[in-house]
């Protein structure tokens, strides 16, 4: 396998990890974000929390792994994106802080006020990251202001407030709503009676809104967001020359991959179809279909963003030549190869024991079950 192939594989693998994150951690974030919306009583909220209690921690490791893989496979991208989006990342971090302790400590004291506060903490801890990740993608699509100096130190010249532009906010809203919808489809699978009915009703509405926003964002991207294209030849088999290339900013450039390979239109099309099927399945109480179509839809949303930008991963709006692409911002061939082997061994294992843990904890939960096991459940 040559360097070029490894670089492409790692673009796919980072995509797999991000999709693994939104599909798995996505539903538990969605459930937590809905605590105060769908849960009308402490017992109902406990049902909601306990549907995800055994799994959220494992799910969150998809995010940790995506971060670690970014560090190992695309060190410069990891460095540039995490330090460039500093304040946004810190806010995400503070929100994420609230989740492990929220889940664990909420149950430890039986007091209305204590539990209500932790409910809000869990809601914030889950909704804020979902929103910010969307905003970050919205900004990546528009390019981010940064450059490298002569020893390749990164200098970010934008501000936090500039990240909150209309297109990015739309992407943030899409991200938040699709995660919340995903949580609602999981609740359809795992709860009974009232709670299940409320989740179905919510999913019908949310999935339709997500489909509309996703299409709207695509149109906006086509009409008003300039894309990037590399106009020099990148040696895809050679050492990174991150700053030695020429890049053109032009309207419609984010659609050039679709023009070249029309089959790629399948990704956004399946994304829209997934949301629509999800709405329909929730309406007709086909819970498994609703959850799977929601998973498909959010996976396709992530993939669509990746394909549109390919081969870019972090374009620079102020010094386009310094943009980071998946060809020239990667780890060395040796590291990519080692990490590829490691991923080949462990990703299937992870999927296997994760599936087993869901199998062990299968079945719907109700309020009676919570009351009967009040001291051992969350």
């Amino acid at each position: 396998m040559d360097y070029e192939a490894l670089r492409f594989i790692w673009w796919l693998l980072i995509g797999v990890l991000l999709i693994g994150f939104v599909v798995t951690d996505g539903f538990d974030m969605g459930v937590a974000a809905l605590l105060k919306v769908l849960g009308k009583s402490n017992d109902e909220r406990r049902v909601m929390i306990n549907t995800i209690a055994p799994h959220w921690d494992g799910n969150q490791v998809w995010l940790i792994t995506a971060g670690g893989a970014l560090f190992a496979a695309w060190p410069t991208v990891y460095a540039a994106s995490f330090s460039g989006f500093y304040i946004a990342l810190m806010l995400t971090l503070f929100a994420l802080f609230l989740r492990p302790i929220g889940f664990e400590y909420r149950a430890k004291i039986d007091n209305e006020q204590w539990r209500s506060r932790w409910d809000w903490a869990l809601t914030a801890g889950s909704a804020i990251p979902a929103l910010i990740f969307g905003v970050a993608f919205g900004n990546l699509l528009q390019g981010v202001p940064f450059y490298f100096d002569d020893i390749l130190r990164l200098h970010y010249t934008g501000s936090f407030w500039a990240l909150l532009n209309p297109f990015a906010l739309l992407a943030g809203v899409l991200s938040l709503l699709m995660i919340v919808n995903h949580g609602a489809t999981y609740l359809q699978l795992k709860t009974e009676a009232e709670l299940k009915t409320r989740s179905e009703k919510l999913s019908v509405v949310l999935a339709l809104i997500c489909a509309v926003i996703f299409v709207l964002a695509g149109v906006w991207l086509f009409l008003a967001v300039d894309g990037y294209s590399v106009t020099s030849i990148i040696d895809t088999n050679g050492a990174n020359r991150t700053t030695d290339k020429t890049v053109l900013i032009s309207a419609g450039a984010w659609f050039s991959n679709y023009a070249k390979w029309p089959l790629l239109w399948l990704a956004p099309a399946l994304g829209v179809a997934g949301f629509l099927i999800c709405a329909l399945a929730s309406k007709t109480q086909r819970h498994i279909t609703a959850f799977i179509s929601s998973s498909l839809a959010i996976a396709m949303v992530v993939l669509t963003a990746g394909i549109s930008m390919f081969p870019f991963v972090m374009p620079s709006s102020t010094t386009p030549a310094h943009s980071l692409t998946m060809w020239d911002a990667t780890a060395s061939e040796t590291t990519l190869m080692i990490m590829f082997v490691v991923a080949c061994i462990f990703v299937p294992l992870i999927l296997a024991y994760t599936a087993w843990s869901y199998f062990v904890m299968r079945g719907r939960l109700n309020e009676q079950h919570i009351r009967d096991n009040s001291h051992s459940l969350y």
């Binding site: 670690g68 410069t76 330090s83 990342l89 889940f103 664990e104 050492a239 062990v360 904890m361 051992s376």
Partner: protein, 519 residues
């Protein structure tokens, strides 16, 4: 304070808080596995209750370990972006492998540990607990492989085109001797922490005369596990790693306040007051030959002193200055064979040349004064290392004595343990944390001025952020962590006081209606 000081402060704060929770997780995970094994083998439900009760305390601790752990992984990118770029090719791999191989397993199984009691057979649940314990230790292995590489970077080479370090041998990185000794030393310290925790709280129940069968059994398991672990921490201590690399030599010299190289074998300074001005240790109490034996395992090798190491650093900084200048020329377009050849000759000292960038932007024309300053700062301050090392060792010895006494009384099957022993155990509760934090400080402060030993100075490794950005994040983290730690300590105390009654089995002391309602 500038961005370097603030970034360091933030990293130190987040790492030290994270390290309050990690050792207890490492140790408790195995203690839980041992208790549950006894349950499965004997079928006595008291051991299942022990697993569940200590598991509750484990969970309270684990939650904050996860919370503060996320910050650690994000921070390399957010606050140390040049570091991430410069060494990510090597350093990122163990972190990613840690997540794939260990953290995934641990985090998935912890859900089954807590919620799978009624859904899994006894044997399967036991397997889950053991795998969880194993995974937490595997986590530590990969993190310490990464950390060991910061102390003693092996298996990598500088690539002038990509302007970073690149991996040449992954097996050298894994089998880095510094990483290996760090791993055994750190996980053993974790086991000691878990053992002291269980021993101290059990002793408190024994002192209060409550839940006696439960407390005696916990006490016995903790004392045996603790004695073995305390011996291993001390025997497998860090010393064997000190022979390798200049950073470790500097650290050793600073820890021992070895101002000058003395004829072999070197004496060990038990106590004294290090004096930076006179470069001597006042009121030193020395034992002849012991340091030479510990550090070099011989009576003929010398232990390098600080002033001799500084002389070596001066030479390396001058060569490094040349390497830095050649590197700049090359990157500006001078790719002549002469430049490349000469650069390759001196490139091993490039990191030392980079030290100069802290004092001047114009490395080529650095003055003798700049160079002298760089030499002066090439060795960390002595007194913080000297004292934190001694605090760590003193705590370690005290805990060894505690476990020896506790194990003696457990082995004798004394029904009523002497009260002095129970009090000793109870008041020893903070010792493992003090030792762990002091040990962490010795390892990381002792690495200064380097982020990666002899490769990348700390001051260059930071992200180019604004001071106000870091003040914001640091301030918020301090406030949040303080709140979290207060809540954690409060819950921990509350549940430790409730004891096994918090399981609501109806079999334990304190299960009056008033307390049943509380938990």
């Amino acid at each position: 304070m500038d961005i370097v000081d603030l970034s360091r402060l933030q990293f130190a704060f987040t790492a030290m808080i994270h390290f309050l929770f990690v050792p207890l997780t490492l140790g408790m995970a195995f203690l839980l596995a041992i208790m549950e094994s006894v349950y499965v083998m004997t079928g006595k439900t008291i051991y299942r209750d022990m697993t569940k009760f200590w598991g509750k305390l484990f969970g309270i601790n684990f939650a904050l370990g996860v919370t503060t752990g996320i910050a650690m992984e994000f921070q390399f990118g957010t606050n140390w972006s040049y570091y991430s770029h410069y060494v990510g090719d090597i350093f990122g791999a163990p972190l990613a492998i840690e997540a794939l191989m260990a953290f995934f397993l641990e985090s998935t199984l912890i859900g089954l540990f807590f919620f799978g009691w009624d859904r899994l057979s006894k044997e399967k649940h036991l397997a889950v607990t053991w795998l969880m314990a194993l995974a937490s230790n595997l986590s530590a292995l990969w993190i310490l492989v990464a950390n060991g590489w910061m102390q003693h970077p092996v298996g990598s080479v500088f690539n002038i085109d990509t302007m970073r370090m690149e991996l040449t041998s992954f097996s050298e990185v894994i089998f880095n001797p510094v990483a290996q000794v760090k791993f055994v030393h750190t996980v053993s310290a974790g086991y000691v922490t878990g053992a002291v925790f269980v021993l101290a709280i059990s002793s408190w129940y024994l002192l209060k005369g409550r839940d006696l069968p439960f407390a005696r059994r916990s006490f016995a398991i903790a004392s045996a596990f603790g004695l073995a672990s305390a011996l291993s921490v001390i025997v497998l201590g860090d010393e064997s790693g000190y022979e390798i690399g200049d950073v470790q030599k500097v650290k050793l010299a600073a820890v021992e306040a070895e101002w000058h190289t003395h004829p072999a074998p070197a004496a060990f300074t038990v106590f004294g007051v290090p004096n930076e001005q006179t470069q001597t240790t006042d009121y030193a109490l020395k034992i002849p030959a012991v340091l030479g034996l510990i550090a070099t395992r011989s009576v003929t090798e010398e232990v390098a002193g600080i002033s001799e190491l500084k002389e070596k650093h001066l030479e390396r900084i001058i060569r490094g200055q040349e390497a830095y200048v050649l590197m700049t020329q090359y990157r500006a377009g001078d790719k002549s064979a002469a430049t490349i050849n000469r650069f390759n000759e001196v490139s091993a000292d490039l990191g030392y040349g980079m030290l100069l960038t802290a004092y001047t932007d114009d490395v080529a024309n650095a003055t003798a004064e700049h160079i002298a300053q760089a030499v002066e700062d090439s060795v960390p301050k002595v007194w913080p290392l000297f004292w934190s090392f001694r605090i760590m060792v003193a705590c370690g010895v005290a805990m060894l004595v505690l476990f020896a006494a506790a194990f003696w009384h457990s082995a004798k099957r004394t029904v009523d343990k002497p009260r002095w022993l129970l009090k000793f155990a109870l008041f020893s509760l903070p010792l493992p944390w003090i030792a762990c934090e002091a040990g962490w400080f010795v390892a990381e402060y002792g690495r200064q001025p380097w982020a990666i030993g002899e490769i990348l100075p700390t001051h260059l490794a930071v992200s180019q952020l604004s001071v106000s950005d870091i003040w914001f994040s640091l301030g918020a983290i301090v406030v949040l962590y303080t709140i979290f730690v207060i809540i954690e300590m409060w819950l921990m105390t509350k549940y430790a006081r409730l004891g096994p009654s918090s399981l609501h089995t109806g079999k334990y002391d304190l299960e009056s209606p008033a307390t049943v309602k509380e938990a």
